[in-house]
Symmetry: C3
Subunit: 450 residues, 3 copies
């Protein structure tokens, strides 16, 4: 069970929705269990693997599943044919299967058209993909929008293939059907929306992106228990075509998105990486930077580049949404990326639970930030007679709680948000928020706007 | 005698009011002499120690002494009862005094209420304060706003106390009286005011803040001799309650404060520290930064934090005055801080005289800065025929005076102040000011506004 | 022959006017040949040496030669008398010439008045100039605006002079005549002008500034072959008085200058130095910084200082033109500066050709920059079906051409210029421009304004 399923009104009980959300072993185990269940499924940008995946997630969250017909125009694109695969192999004349889809989903180039043919190795060779630098790993390759077929195998497998005739079988369907995606909306006090988006199109790859799917699922499950200021929208979509489809079908909702994060690669042993939104100075960029800075785990903040995950679509110039991307080690920067080595052994339960905690802290800032005004702006109010200050003077330094009180009082001029106070004070948002709550309790502070 | 008491019109004689104010041995001696006279007095936030201190300062400057009755409301605070103490000790049954106020002002927690009682060490113990990490030092402790009493002693003294009965005597008054503070206004050509504020509430502590009191006094004495552009206001006030009292009584004057500095800890062996105003980019912040950058003594510039000295009050959001804090080693950052080790031996006469020189240089920038416009903005004017440029061409580099002339001519577009020119040129303000004076002499420059 | 004399419409054929302009051996040889021809001439701020120099340049470019009479008022200055020199020496009583102008143009202080006199070494001594730190070098000295005469010699020559009588002869004219300068205008589609300015007043000095003269000449010759968006104006002028004269005579044209560069010291072995315009953030400052950053040759960008070359005049506050200064090792920073050691042996043909290539790349950005708008701003357009994207997905990283396409599409919102895209992408301008051209070809992009 997740540790964090506490009920209640977030606005009133920020302490329970804490930015210092603990990293919990139980969360790590729950996240790993979900990933292990999802790992064997052969997902792609369409097809039954996606449906099966979403059905499993529905056991955790009230996910709505959408089906969009092949051929539907979405912005500059068209929803492709649906792809399903039953069986595929390369066999020697004696029937020995030298490459077999049954052994790994990755053995087949995604969206390979059906084939059943005999051919010489020389003819077959252009359809075989390996990773010469990692001779034991199978690469992950796709050909969604170009009519083609192919097999991925290890370099060692390829080396054993002698010249001669092979039977090549791909028992797949590539026919009109649907694109499937999942969506969950947790309504809040306002329509202002926080978007979390995870891609669900990768077959047996663990970090990219079962880690993102699992963390997003658990975060949604966690947030369902609270009364929230913002509306939260979770998307589980195939990469690129899924976000384009959602954007095309929700153009009227796009402007409601106040903050957003694409989630991927959240389970490896590395530190945190935050890729900023195209704007670079959106509130989400400041919020994530603050949370990561206050954490002990090393982190890196990188500028937006128009390559990566679905932030490419959310941040296209016609939308330019305040959506960043939260990862541990980014796509392309770990050797196992897009290969059979991105498997369950690459994941660390403590990384998954830490990523989950970081996201809860980010939500705590999103929910808890506000503008305040001091009721006694001229000089400091006398905190001592209100029991908020040390009785004995002359000590070398103030406690961090006293400092937080002084910072809030000093910056509560109606122009500094709690997040800005936390940044300027170099204190965690939760400490500043706790000070603000204490000062409200003492009638020294009033809220200006959330 | 101070070396710097030259008379005359500052605006016309900037050269004598020099930014490169020399560090003078005579100044160091005079500052030490004043501090030595003030050191033995038992000051607090009210009482006769403050009055006695101000009387000594009145021998140097035309200080006005203000008395504000106990019970007066000042902003969110109330002027407390006046505290005076005659005698205090802890004695063994045989009459031997094991802790005696006569030996050190610091032995008593400030604002201790009167007591005369016999008690066991166990009862006495919660009222005894030591510094375990510095077993030979007496801490400085206060309890201004909480009814209490206590003694401060060395850890070694405490260790010698055996269990048993002690007589505890504090012969103090804590009765309605007055809060006393000193104020000096040196009127200038305008009401725009430069504020210098020093706290006078600490008993026998040298760096914090007899150094600040002495340097402020000598600066005021020095400035009295000049005709000045700005009005200068010097405050000698008890910490916190004193600045709150002054602010409450002078709300209509607060907006006149164009620049301000709290002065403290100006005599130790460390380099200079400037703590910026809350605004961070006020003119005083740039002025002090420039003066310190041009000095050979190491310096540090720190951002505002709402903890420290009376800048906390001046920079509260309802006032938000352009007031920074000039120190050498800041409060809390030297081990002797708020203990009996902050005594005369901690002070360096050369540090005191250097701090005094830095303040004169700061005033030189405040008084001497202005906007100018070149009379020949198109191309350089021909300096050579006016005797302002080297006759022989082809030399490797220009002299720094020639560079200063060129910088002033280049930036004298009515938008760059002399300080901005000095910053951009990387030259001392005095060099830029001298160049501007030479160009005015050659009718190549005209003043736009001061 | 220069390699780069290709004809055609620049706007349409940016590929030939390439930012990755190659560094060509042939260019280096051609530049050296021109410098070698110019080196022996005794140039000054006026006189026949300037005329002779401009005549040689006219063999390369359609230079217009202007003559401005002595006594003409130019801004705060007056065009001086014209100076020509035929002969000068110092001779022993036996007639042996110990210093002889025939041996080096540098032996005479420029603008020395005529003299023919016998004098003792003691009388002569104040008129003799040496470089004690470099005993074998002759310094370069001038006295344009102060009536004087003098000789420059090596420290070793001076050491050999015994006391006694010397005959001193300077056979010069210093009489009303003209100031001569060259100007070339290459008209473009608009009157918006790019200014290149080189000083032509130095006698036999190679790096300062025959290198600048030669590179400017070859750049002008190169640009004459193109149809250009901007008008290009090349000035070959005596330092200071020449730029002042041009500015005084062209005040109505000054506002047309959109970008400008002073060219000097472009042939030594050092890396590139760009001295920013007074504004510091003018487009030319960003353009040059981008080109230098993308180059492998080390570079340095320095802030404007009002000392150096004619940028002093162009950037005076009454003009404040967007004119920087491009150099390799700056004036005064190499030991041979303004001495006989700044001779042909200091030059590197590969430095000259590299400087020339850098300038062509700068012009390529000036000419090729523009604002674009994506025709499909919502989401990425489907590049694959237009043949602009890799067919096989799942690769670790995108190619730099694909990245360039994505950057242009992402930033083509009508607010980001191609240069801004290149800066943000960290890609060369030429790569971004090529991507923009490809997208225009695919009708995915439209130009907003040049």
């Amino acid at each position: 069970m997740l540790t964090s399923g506490c009920q209640g009104n977030l606005s009133l009980k920020l302490g329970t929705f804490d930015e210092v959300a603990p990293v919990s072993d139980a969360d790590g185990k729950a996240l790993m269990a979900l990933i292990e269940e999802l790992f064997p499924i052969c997902r792609s940008i369409t097809g039954n693997g996606v449906r099966q995946t979403l059905q499993i997630l529905q056991r955790y969250i009230r996910l709505e599943v959408n089906e969009v017909p092949s051929g539907t125009r979405v912005l500059d694109w068209t929803v492709p044919a649906e792809w399903n695969i039953r069986n595929a192999y390369i066999a020697c004349p004696d029937g020995t299967r030298v490459v077999d889809f049954a052994a790994s989903n990755l053995h087949i180039v995604q969206y390979s058209r059906p084939i059943d043919a005999l051919m010489l190795l020389a003819e077959l060779r252009p359809h075989l993909h390996t990773l010469p630098d990692h001779p034991d790993w199978i690469p992950y390759r796709t050909s969604y929008y170009t009519d083609n077929w192919g097999f991925c195998l290890t370099q060692r497998q390829l080396a054993t293939l002698s010249d001669g005739l092979y039977r090549v079988v791909i028992d797949s369907d590539l026919t009109p059907g649907h694109l499937t995606y999942g969506e969950l909306v947790i309504p809040g006090e306002t329509d202002d929306t926080v978007l979390f988006s995870a891609h669900i199109c990768h077959p047996s790859l663990a970090n990219d992106n079962l880690s993102g799917i699992a963390v997003a699922t658990m975060l949604a499950r966690y947030l369902q228990a609270f009364r929230l200021r913002y509306t939260y929208r979770f998307l589980f979509i195939p990469g690129t075509i899924g976000s384009l489809t959602w954007l095309a079908r929700n153009e009227d909702r796009v402007r409601q998105i106040a903050h957003g994060l694409v989630l991927s690669c959240l389970g490896d042993a590395g530190g945190m990486t935050y890729k900023q939104s195209r704007r670079g100075d959106a509130p989400i960029d400041r919020i994530v930077a603050h949370v990561l800075r206050q954490d002990e785990v090393p982190h890196r903040i990188t500028s937006f580049v128009p390559y990566g995950y679905d932030e490419r679509q959310y941040c296209s110039p016609g939308f330019d949404l305040p959506v960043g991307c939260l990862m541990r080690t980014p796509n392309g920067e770990y050797p196992e990326y897009h290969s059979s080595a991105d498997n369950l052994s690459l994941l660390r339960p403590e990384s998954l639970s830490h990523s989950f905690a970081v996201l809860r802290r980010i939500v705590a800032v999103i929910e808890g930030d506000a503008l305040y005004r001091s009721s006694n702006p001229k000089g400091e109010p006398q905190l001592g007679r209100r029991g908020l200050y040390a009785a004995m003077g002359g000590q070398r330094a103030a406690s961090s709680h006293q400092l937080a009180l002084l910072w809030v009082l000093n910056l509560a001029d109606g122009h500094h948000s709690l997040l800005e106070m936390a940044e300027r004070a170099g204190l965690p948002f939760a400490a500043i928020r706790a000070a603000a709550d204490a000062l409200i309790g003492a009638e020294l502070l009033e809220i200006v706007s959330a």
